[in-house]
Structure formats: structure tokens, C-alpha cells
């Protein structure tokens, strides 16, 4: 009896080995200058992440989902997008979002729970990080569909984790995208865990990319800590989408170095051995640094300068976030439920304001 069965084990695609040497061909559009730019963004993002955790510890920031370890996956993938492409991220994509143009103070305001943080800059077709796992994958499908219907160049990219691939919405999104051959890229950061649940408990397959087979879609498994390989994979997928070739599923194999969020204690579930290996030998920033150093494009002084510049930008962002005006609560609560306030909302807003004046709100 002949049956469908997948017996191969495809290793993650790699261009740059963990020691910074090339094991594959650099994409033509990645010269040293561009890689230095990636590197500086990765360093900036890492510093931002550390600072955010710090602010949280000081009680100056609410729940924050750190991304340290995933900088290559995020910056490598966002780098292949054009500025007016649609972006539907999850809460984890802060590094990519910063790279894409989100002002860093917005990322801080998001973790401060400020309503303004949901109001993405007008010039970006980017949604705030989705909280409901996998829900955004369908939105990307719809936006890609709109592009296709209108004959636009614009494609849609959506970002999510390994855990998200277990949700029904993920399946429905990939199925719609493939049936309608839509210009959308599904970018999964397999960071090994969904909170405490390891990817081996999330799926029986060894690679998220294998799931693409169920949709006759190309699935690419890439070393997510190799910014060059990530970029190349995303480039391929974005080009395919833009040229009418339909969707792609990319899995970037990476690692969440920190806790799931500031509310999480990863010591409860993490394998310390594997943790050490990922940190010490597979850090994405170290890898790119070794490469650039060998190319003569990195030295200690540059590093110091870039760190200093990063820290300055971050300090400014913290300053801007902390001095940001408190929300206009009446507006934030009542004025964006519908395009026009309903009679009930008019009444409620009025009584809210009255309570406000009496000091009865909180």
C-alpha cells in the first residue's frame, strides 16, 4: 500500500556558521555595509530588551515579552520587506518592529499599558502585536487578498511562534492562503518553547516547515540565528509573493534566551544544558560579529560607539515614554469603540466624567 509519509529530515538552512564563517552563498544584496547595519540593529535591539527588563524590575514598565536571542530572526526577516508592506506581528516581534520603524518609545508605552501604543504610526501598515495566538495569521491572509484583488505590489507578512502552529486559525490561514494563492509570508519563530511547553510537545513533526506540505506550499526551515540565512529565506518568500507565486511558510529555528514574559520563571521548565549551549555557542549577535570582525568591519571601538549610540537612543526613548502625557481616559475609553459614540456610550461617557469629577473612578 502506498501512503503519504515524510521520511526525510531536512536540516535548517544555514549560510553563516556559528563561528562566523560562511558555509553558503551570501545573497547579492547583502554587502558588508548592509550587514553592519543589521549588526547595529541587533545590538540596539538587545540593549533595548535588556533595558526594558531592567525598567520592569524597577517597576517602571508592565508586562514585557523579551526577545533576546531572536534578533537575527526578526531583523533578517523584516529587512526583506518593503516599507508599505502589511505586517501582522505577535507580541514577540519588538526587535523587528523597531527595525521596521516603530519608535522605541511606542514599544515601551505598549508595556506601560498606555492606550496610545496601539495607534501605530500612520506611515506603517503594521498592526500592534497580537495577543491572541495565531489570530493575526488570518488578518494577513485578508490583507494579502486585498492586495491581490486590487493588483497592488504590497504583500503581507505575519509573524508568530512555534506554539501558534497548533491553533486552528493557523491551519485555516495557511489553507486560505494556498487555495487563493495569496501574496503572504508566514514567518514562524520557533524559539523552542510556548511559555513552558517545548516544541516536541507542540507537534509530532520535527520541523514547523514540514507543516507547509499540507498546503502544497513551500516550507523553508532556516537557522534563525543566522541573519543572512533568514534574510535569504525571507527574500525568496517575499519575492515569490510579490511576483504572484503565492504564500510561503518559513520556520526560523531560534531560541528565547530570557523568560516568556516578565511574569514567567523559565527555571521551572528549561533544560539548563541546552540553555547553556544556545547562549554560549549559538547567539545570533556573536555570530555576525565574528563574521564582521574577520571581514575587518568590526572592532572594539566600533562596538563601543554603537553601544553608546544605542544606549543614547534608548535613554531618549525611555525619557519620551516616561514623559508621555497620561492618556486622555475619556477619549481612550469611549471614543474608539465605534466611529461615532452610540447613545449608551454618550450616557456612559457623561456619567464617567461626572464620576471623575467626584473622584469616584478608582
Amino acid at each position: 500500500m502506498r501512503t503519504y509519509r515524510w521520511d526525510n529530515d531536512v536540516p535548517a538552512h544555514q549560510v553563516m556558521a556559528p563561528d562566523g564563517t560562511l558555509v553558503g552563498a551570501l545573497p547579492q544584496d547583502l554587502d558588508d555595509a548592509r550587514l553592519v547595519e543589521f549588526y547595529r540593529w541587533m545590538v540596539f535591539a538587545r540593549r533595548f530588551d535588556q533595558r526594558a527588563l531592567n525598567l520592569h524590575r524597577q517597576g517602571r514598565l508592565g508586562t514585557y515579552a523579551p526577545f533576546a536571542g531572536q534578533e537575527a530572526a526578526q531583523i533578517g526577516s523584516f529587512a526583506a520587506l518593503e516599507k508599505d508592506d502589511w505586517v501582522f506581528p505577535s507580541y514577540r516581534e519588538v526587535a523587528g518592529m523597531l527595525f521596521f520603524g516603530l519608535p522605541p518609545e511606542m514599544a515601551l508605552l505598549f508595556s506601560k499599558g498606555h492606550p496610545v501604543a496601539g495607534r501605530m504610526p500612520d506611515e506603517l501598515n503594521m498592526l500592534p502585536g497580537q495577543i491572541i495566538i495565531a489570530a493575526q495569521t488570518l488578518h494577513a491572509v485578508g490583507a494579502a487578498w486585498a492586495s491581490k484583488l486590487r493588483g497592488e505590489r504590497r504583500i503581507a507578512a505575519t509573524f508568530f511562534g512555534d506554539g501558534a502552529t497548533s491553533e486552528g486559525d493557523f491551519h485555516e490561514a495557511l489553507n486560505f492562503a494556498s487555495v487563493f494563492r495569496l501574496p503572504v509570508v508566514f514567518f514562524c519563530q520557533n524559539n523552542q518553547y510556548a511559555i513552558s511547553v517545548p516544541v516536541s510537545r507542540q507537534m509530532a513533526v520535527r520541523s514547523v516547515a514540514q507543516r507547509a506540505l499540507a498546503y502544497d506550499m513551500e516550507g523553508i526551515c532556516v537557522d534563525g540565528n543566522d541573519v543572512v540565512a533568514v534574510y535569504a529565506a525571507m527574500r525568496r518568500a517575499v519575492d515569490r509573493a510579490r511576483s504572484g507565486g503565492g504564500p510561503t511558510l518559513i520556520e526560523a529555528v531560534t531560541y528565547r534566551q530570557g523568560p516568556h514574559t516578565t511574569a514567567d520563571d523559565p527555571r521551572r521548565y528549561r533544560d539548563p544544558e541546552a540553555h547553556r549551549t544556545w547562549l554560549e555557542t549559538r547567539d545570533p549577535i556573536r555570530r555576525l560579529r565574528l563574521y564582521l570582525e574577520a571581514r575587518g568591519a568590526w572592532d572594539e571601538q566600533a562596538e563601543e560607539r554603537w553601544l553608546r549610540e544605542a544606549d543614547e537612543r534608548i535613554a531618549q526613548a525611555v525619557e519620551r515614554a516616561e514623559s508621555h502625557p497620561a492618556p486622555d481616559a475619556a477619549e481612550a475609553l469611549f471614543d474608539h469603540v465605534y466611529g461615532t459614540r452610540t447613545p449608551d456610550l454618550e450616557d456612559e461617557r457623561r456619567s464617567w466624567l461626572a464620576a471623575w469629577e467626584r473622584g469616584a473612578n478608582a
Partner: protein, 325 residues
């Protein structure tokens, strides 16, 4: 003006929307070649093409979720959920996504989405096809919900929904799809969302109904009139936002109210209607408001459904009770 059944009026409204606005598209299960299982989209794929009237894979969350993306990106999707009982599959995409994008992004993105769904009992459908679930959406900020009881309102409310900048759920009582015909204007017009309608003026008792129970309420009112009781029938037309003012105005006049709905009693829209009357016309009330509704059970199988649905006799009995109280 043309005589139209409700389903024809709906088909006409969709055709007009497709014609007038290139951003409009229709998506759902069997809406294309088949013209919808009730023929609401009959002939539209032929007329407007496969890209504007789209058969999707069988996945409701996919339909609503991708429609949310379409709407965010500037389209005006009209999604069909084949029967309201299947809307549970889309609750996250409806309540946490469609209804919240405006609020979440503080106005930066919006979801001008229409979701149509047939529902309601009395037509011998299999399980889970007949349930009345409007109460779930009355309790969902960011959504609007309309429910026509006649062909004119069906067309006008649907066109108003398409024009609305926010997600609107259009609940269509399938029992009324072909129940009768009525003069319906041919062109574009809207019935404003949020305004109830006095379906029959009266002075003694306010009978509040919506969708499939409007004819039931009217029939009961007719019978009451024969007993010398004058009922004012309020057809809500919009479930959310609720037109509290019309309710209160009517009860201030009549002093009595009976609420009729097909959904199960407890936690239904009837409770909020009762609350609206209680809040707004407390000192006018001469008797407790009565609710005549489905019982607190799952919607029952066809062989017993008629024994479960609110009947005009039950409404009449309630009218008598409030008159005697």
C-alpha cells in the same frame, strides 16, 4: 418599487452594494455557483465575477478572520456564515478581533465588515441551525447587530451595514425569507441602524419583538384587539445599539410591556430590554414586564420545535396577565 420576498430584498441589496462600491466583495461557503443555500447571492457570481463573490474553504474562523484583514486593508467584505449556529467557530475573530481593532489601535485601523447569518426556528432544520444567539453580540462592544423582520428593513439595514464604518452582524430570520412579499424600493436606501420601529401603534401594552417574533407579536396583538386590548408593537430592528428611547417612550404611554424572543430566556436580549424599561419607565410601570421566550434548553429537534417556540397564544396570555396585574 418591486414586490419582493425578504431573500429577494437581501439579494438585491447585495447586488447594489457590489455594483456601487468596488471595495465590496462577498465571501462564504456556497455563495458562488450555488448562490447561497438560501439563494441570497443567486446569480451574483455570474454577474460580478469569481473575485467578488467567492466560495471559501469550509472554515468559519477563516472566513471572518480573513474578512477582518480585508477590511483593515480597505475592502468592504460581506461575509456569510451559513447558519448562525456556526458563528461560535468565529467568536474570537468576531469579538476579540473585528470588534476591537478600532479600539486597540485607537482609531488607526478599522473593520468595516458585514457578517450575514440566517437563523431562527420553525423550519425543521437539523440541530444547531436554528439557534437565536443575538444576546452574545449585544454583550460585545464594538459590534453592531441588526435583525430585520420584513423585506424592506432587510434591504435597508443590510445597505446601512455595508455603509457603516464598523463591523455589523446582520441576523436574518430564515422563517421570514419567503414568508411573504412586500413593496421594496429598487434603488439604494438605508434603514438607520439603532432605531426601533413602531410596527403597530397602541395604548395599553407595549409588545417588544424582533426578527421572527414580530409576526408572532402582531398576531397576538390582533387577538388582543378583539378582546379590547390595544397593543403597541415595537420591532427593535437593531439589537445593538439598543434603542432604549423608543422602548421607554412607548412604555411611558402604555405602562405595561411584554417582550417576545425566540432565544432561550435566561440571559437573553429580553433581560436587557426589560432592564431598559425598568431603568427608564420604572414609575410608569403598572405591572411587571413579562417575557415570552424560548425555554432554557438547547434548541430542540424538529419534531418538537413548534412546542418550544413562543406562540401568539403564549404572547396573548402574557398580555392578559399584564393587563390583569
Amino acid at each position: 418599487m418591486t414586490e419582493r420576498t425578504m431573500i429577494q430584498a437581501i439579494q438585491d441589496a447585495i447586488a447594489i452594494a457590489l455594483e456601487q462600491d468596488p471595495r465590496v466583495l462577498v465571501l462564504g461557503e456556497d455563495v458562488g455557483k450555488n448562490g447561497g443555500v438560501f439563494r441570497a447571492t443567486e446569480g451574483l457570481q455570474e454577474r460580478f465575477g469569481e473575485h467578488r463573490v467567492v466560495d471559501t474553504p469550509l472554515a468559519e474562523s477563516g472566513i471572518v478572520g480573513s474578512a477582518v484583514g480585508l477590511a483593515i486593508a480597505g475592502m468592504r467584505p460581506i461575509a456569510e456564515i451559513q447558519f448562525l449556529g456556526f458563528i461560535y467557530e468565529t467568536m474570537d475573530q468576531l469579538a476579540s478581533q473585528a470588534a476591537r481593532v478600532r479600539f486597540r489601535t485607537q482609531g488607526r485601523f478599522t473593520v468595516p465588515l458585514v457578517v450575514r447569518a440566517p437563523f431562527g426556528g420553525g423550519v425543521r432544520t437539523p440541530e444547531l441551525h436554528s439557534d437565536s444567539l443575538e444576546a452574545l453580540f449585544l454583550h460585545t462592544p464594538g459590534l453592531k447587530v441588526v435583525m430585520p423582520s420584513n423585506p424592506y428593513d432587510a434591504k435597508g439595514l443590510l445597505l446601512a451595514a455595508v455603509a457603516d464604518p464598523d463591523p455589523v452582524l446582520v441576523l436574518e430570520p430564515m422563517r421570514l425569507y419567503r414568508l411573504g412579499r412586500m413593496e421594496v424600493p429598487d434603488g439604494h436606501y438605508t434603514v438607520p441602524i439603532g432605531q426601533a420601529r413602531i410596527a403597530r401603534p397602541g395604548t395599553d401594552v407595549t409588545v417588544v419583538a424582533w426578527g421572527p417574533t414580530v409576526p408572532v407579536a402582531l398576531e397576538a396583538s390582533e387577538a388582543a384587539a378583539a378582546e379590547g386590548v390595544s397593543c403597541e408593537v415595537v420591532d427593535l430592528r437593531t439589537i445593538s445599539p439598543l434603542d432604549r428611547r423608543t422602548l421607554v417612550t412607548s412604555v411611558e404611554k402604555t405602562g405595561r410591556a411584554v417582550v417576545v424572543h425566540e432565544a432561550v430566556r435566561t440571559g437573553g436580549v429580553g433581560a436587557e430590554v426589560l432592564a431598559a424599561i425598568h431603568d427608564g419607565a420604572f414609575y410608569s410601570l403598572l405591572a411587571p414586564v413579562e417575557r415570552v421566550t424560548g425555554y432554557d434548553t438547547p434548541y430542540p429537534p424538529p419534531a418538537v420545535e413548534d412546542l418550544w417556540l413562543p406562540t401568539s397564544k403564549r404572547v396573548l396570555a402574557a398580555v392578559r396577565r399584564v393587563m390583569e396585574a
